[in-house]
Symmetry: C2
Subunit: 348 residues, 2 copies
DNA sequence: CTGTTAGCGCTTTCAG
DNA sequence: CTGAAAGCGCTAACAG
């Protein structure tokens, strides 16, 4: 009773295996009555086709690999939800692997997925991934790949994310519009493509408003682990506050960085936005309820996941006939709240 | 160059397929030099064993199925991280499926996973899952199953979660200790096992302190979708506030319910804890930074995931020889903050 | 309309 | 020490 196979049901019904197979797949070359008998027996005995066998035979696994930095991240899990929703609908299931911001791990994930026979890969590269040779090699193998979230201009492929330059530009410009001129940036290494793009957006906004770019105001967080990152953020913020002329506002260029900045500022007894205004990339639904309500650059996470998955499925099923690669940049939304309220405005 | 098989390498090295297979698995019956040649060629040509074939042959897939309500939930994703960490270490990979709180979906997930040949299943049942026949049937098939998070006393199996009764008891008792007597409960239907347990804990605490149980104070949220849930929470809270004698404190018995309650109370212009104290089940790292800082019943999510996965792997590998089922109930931690600060105490 | 056959890539007896 | 052969469960020609 363990697992029922086509042969079992063929034997029971005194048919051949292939007849049963075809009957189950509703082939035109099988008689109605036979189909019914087979279907009835299968249902009654809870027959489940063995997908490993089917996959092996057909050379298709019906699954899609997804590589992300960490599943324990609200922004990421929102994207995963989007990915899952379109994949499930299309009949694919997904195998999720975490690179934990390590290039070595990322390669291991990719190998696993390839060995598993996934039909395509959705990947948001690790923070250590500064070149894309391993992905290029995989792509040359014929594996459909779509980059999402952490997109890169160095790598030719389909990509879905946001316009990082523009998002960072808008956030910085918003601070400027609200009267801040000494604006710090907390971000990741410029080796990380999306971080470099956000850095540019920040710099461009300053430039456009004739505000000098001060290297001391641009802080690069290298740490990745949960605790290490927390400590690093705190150290950077303390360093900013200790500057002879400290900044009046901070733009945190990452989801994690934003919430950790808020925490660190609290811990250091810093008034927001009185002592330091704050805006960050963040998708937390709790932004409204934070102290103070946190201004955020909101990314359409679910939609990014959906679109990336749709694109990948087009590639897999060969619906995509276009010769060129395409990068979809979804618009961000600026959710302005108290943490970046205009300078010198009376507190409500 | 697409995918290299054992046959390809056998042909290239003028060996037989079985020799190559054995060489790669370092069999004692293969000569050292042959092994080296094979290994070298395999590495040089980026040979990856086809896991579908291996799985089919061995009847083992090397994968574990995980069913959760929704991946887009910080508590869940934390547990998933725990699961993934132990599974990856043990060489299993995981296939995650969402039931979206629907029993029908849950069954579909289970079928999928079974067909995929997973070697065991970790499941946190949907809110609609009030009986466990489908799980029992699957278990009788020989499929190792471990319930996590949403554990049930109706279903005999290995389970890992928290002591819901005790957690709810402690939370309620804390409110009582802080001077609140009119305490409302916002929870899910008692048909949901863990919700029933929390309800009991709440009731027991009241009873032990000779506080009457008022049905009007116990609100059951039926909705599940993101928006529907939000609306439902708001409606319930409004109803509570509109009572002739409204409650002074609220205990929200779920992660989602807690944050939505906070949001709703804000929206309705209610002071916390002045007009209504609040404590909730929640794992958000942002609790400290909410307005006001939110008192929470903190569950060791990562550890729940880890333990459940460890147990499952023991079952799969047959290390578990104990005849009886076991339910591990991890202790919760009460993180007390301002939202449930003592009644009549001066605001800081 | 139904059955026979071959084979997906791999592991595993069983012979050489 | 190496190879030939069978078979995991399924599908897809190709025959009947």
């Amino acid at each position: 009773m363990a697992t029922m196979t086509l042969r079992d049901i063929a034997k029971a019904l005194d048919l051949s295996v292939s007849t049963v197979s075809k009957a189950l797949r509703d082939s035109y070359e099988i008689g109605e009555d036979t189909k019914k008998r087979v279907a009835a027996y299968a249902r009654a005995n809870h027959y489940l086709p063995n997908r490993m066998a089917k996959s092996l035979k057909e050379g298709k696994s019906g699954s899609i690999g997804v590589v992300i930095c960490s599943i324990d991240n609200s922004f990421v899990s929102r994207m995963l939800d989007g990915i899952d929703s379109t994949c499930t609908q299309a009949g694919y299931d997904i195998i999720i692997m975490q690179n934990k911001e390590s290039l070595a791990q990322e390669k291991a994930c990719l190998n696993q997925l390839e060995a598993r026979g996934v039909e395509g890969i959705l990947i948001s590269p690790s923070a250590e991934t500064v070149n894309f040779e391993h992905l290029a090699a995989l792509k040359d193998t014929g594996m459909p790949i779509v980059l999402f979230d952490r997109i890169s201009e160095q790598f030719e492929s389909y990509q879905v994310g946001i316009d990082n330059r523009r998002g960072a530009f808008q956030a910085t410009q918003h601070l400027i519009a609200n009267g801040y001129r000494r604006i710090a940036l907390l971000t990741l290494s410029p080796d990380v493509p999306f971080a470099a793009q956000r850095r540019e957006g920040y710099a461009n906004a300053l430039k456009q408003h004739h505000i000098p770019y001060r290297p001391a105001f641009v802080r690069t967080v290298q740490a990745h682990g949960r605790e290490a990152l927390k400590d690093s953020v705190r150290a950077h913020i303390r360093a900013l506050l200790d500057l002879p002329e400290p900044p009046e506002a901070l733009f945190a260029a990452t989801d994690q960085l934003s919430t950790q900045s808020l925490a660190a500022l609290h811990q250091l007894g810093c008034q927001i936005p009185g002592d330091m205004a704050l805006i960050g990339f963040s998708n937390t639904e709790l932004a409204d309820m934070l102290t103070p309500p946190l201004s955020t650059v909101y990314q359409p996470a679910f939609q990014i996941g959906q679109l990336a998955a749709e694109k990948l499925i087009e590639l897999i099923t060969g619906k995509d006939r276009s010769p060129d690669y395409e990068t979809v940049r979804l618009p961000i939304r600026l959710d302005l709240r108290d943490s970046s309220r205009p300078r010198f405005q009376a507190t409500v």
